[in-house]
């Protein structure tokens, strides 16, 4: 499902003394099947932005098109369920949303809410456990017996179980160890290859550089840039202005440039860095 924002503005607690602007005139399009990253400082409006994509928040002004649905300020809260099934959302620290007695019940909670019968839901739940690299033998355990990282996986499995077409991830790997981090990121990349549209909020520029095709940069409730990671991460001045960093590979390449190395455009991933360095060092693949 493609997502389009047209002049979307969101104001929290409008017409009160505590009103504040969450989003200001945001315009962009996310194509079906793409991998989009949203970056920006804490409090720049990233989370507000993604909560519009499954109508948890509705625009104060403007129009949002998600697939063939249109969300306007007048949209009623009823009949949003089908939308929420198609747009899955993994919140920050999703392990906090676990509640059921068994892991199996918790994972199948979403699908059952969307009308799936228990047997099918349980079957899917078991598949999802495997998908997030957890043994199916733990299915009957309580989710509260698990470690933090495992709880995170169960929570993510619970969102994936509804088989969403769009998956929104709000810092899904925050606080995980490097291995868990990589496993999860690879899982999201795999889902993306299989056709799921992925929208990722992240502070890890390495992930953004490696996985995203499109990057939205938010600053002070505004969308300040919508481009490919290659272009954005090459613009050091722009990143600096919005308090963002280049990926480590790019920073490293910049240092090398100062020492006389030449890059056609600065590499943003390790792979690209190696590719451009090898000929200059006189080496070859192997």
């Amino acid at each position: 499902m493609a997502i389009t924002f047209e002049h979307v503005t969101h104001i929290y607690q409008p017409d009160g003394p505590l009103a504040y602007q969450g989003l200001t005139d945001v315009n962009f399009t996310i194509d079906e099947g793409s991998f989009t990253a949203i970056i920006g400082q804490t409090g720049s409006g990233k989370s507000t932005l993604v909560q519009h994509m499954n109508a948890l928040l509705k625009p104060t002004k403007g129009i949002i098109k998600i697939g063939n649905r249109t969300i306007t300020p007048e949209t009623k809260n009823k009949h949003l369920k089908p939308l929420r099934q198609k747009v899955g959302m993994v919140f920050q620290f999703p392990e906090q949303q676990l509640f059921a007695e068994t892991i199996l019940d918790d994972i199948s909670f979403g699908p059952q809410n969307f009308g799936m019968d228990e047997t099918t839901a349980h079957k899917i739940a078991l598949q999802m456990l495997e998908l997030v690299h957890l043994p199916t033998s733990i299915a009957e355990k309580s989710p509260f017996d698990l470690s933090g990282g495992q709880m995170r996986r169960v929570a993510i499995a619970g969102v994936l179980a509804s088989q969403p077409e769009v998956l929104i991830l709000d810092e899904p790997t925050a606080g995980l160890d490097p291995r868990g981090h990589k496993e999860l990121m690879d899982l999201f990349a795999q889902l993306n290859q299989e056709g799921t549209t992925i929208i990722l909020i992240s502070h890890q520029m390495e992930d953004v550089a490696q996985y995203a095709q499109q990057v939205l940069v938010m600053d002070q409730a505004r969308l300040v840039r919508d481009d490919t990671p290659q272009v954005i991460f090459n613009d050091a001045e722009f990143l600096n202005k919005h308090n963002l960093l280049q990926p480590e590979s790019t920073q490293f390449a910049r240092e090398l440039e100062r020492k006389g190395f030449k890059f056609s455009s600065l590499p943003i991933t390790e792979e690209q860095l190696v590719k451009q360095l090898l000929p200059q060092l006189g080496g070859s693949h192997g």
């Binding site: 009160g16 948890l56 929420r84 676990l98 509640f99 979403g110």
Partner: protein, 264 residues
Amino acid sequence: MGKMIIGRYLPGKSLIHQLDPRCKFIATFIFVAIVFLANNWQTYLALTIFVLSAVLLSQVSLSFFIKGVRPMIFLIIFTVALQMLFTPGGHPFWQWGIFSLSALSIRNGLFIFMRFLLIIFISTLLTITTTPLQMADAVGAILKPLKIVHFPVEEVALMLSIALQFIPLLSDETTKIMNAQRARGVDFGDGSILRQIKAIIPILIPLFVSSFNIAYDLSIAMESRGYQGSENRSKYRQLKWHFQDSLVMLLFIVLTIILIILRS
């Protein structure tokens, strides 16, 4: 959540903001007590003028206070209506079964309405101009005399200040968990009562679990920073009683005397 005005602090620098929280606390209590002294229109007028000038001094817009009344308006109207319909005595100019309406009962109803309004205004004024921490300090200080009867004043004050500080955190967390469950297809406030109660479970359990976790982490953090109970601790936030605080107390004595003179 966003609608509740009572219990929310609005930062400001007005005269009322700068008063000692103990003074504000005691003053609010005195006010709630002396509201019941009023029994005719002169006394209510005096109280209203007093409250309105206090509101004016706080530099918070009046509309904010009126909004604070809104969530309770049904309770107030219900009580006032009951009072009006069931007050016996006076010459009824409308009667239907046990219900009657007379000049006396209307007057009574209006007074009760005013009483509600004044109490809500003054307590909103207290919470709007006092930070939760100041409030906890004030309660701790006011309860201090109870130490004589071995009441654990410091512990209560500590619990209060922790509880108050965690209210916004837990409320954020509630919103977050609600949103997360909504994204998983839960409808809140929809369907039969039984379904609605069932829909609360996926919020309540995570909320309890995270409260346990917070309590555990907090207690460990407190211990590792040398907290050994409330004995022999010094205080970082010292409350200071200024001249203006005494003045406020004096004002309340004057107000009480005026009320006693004016009441019939």
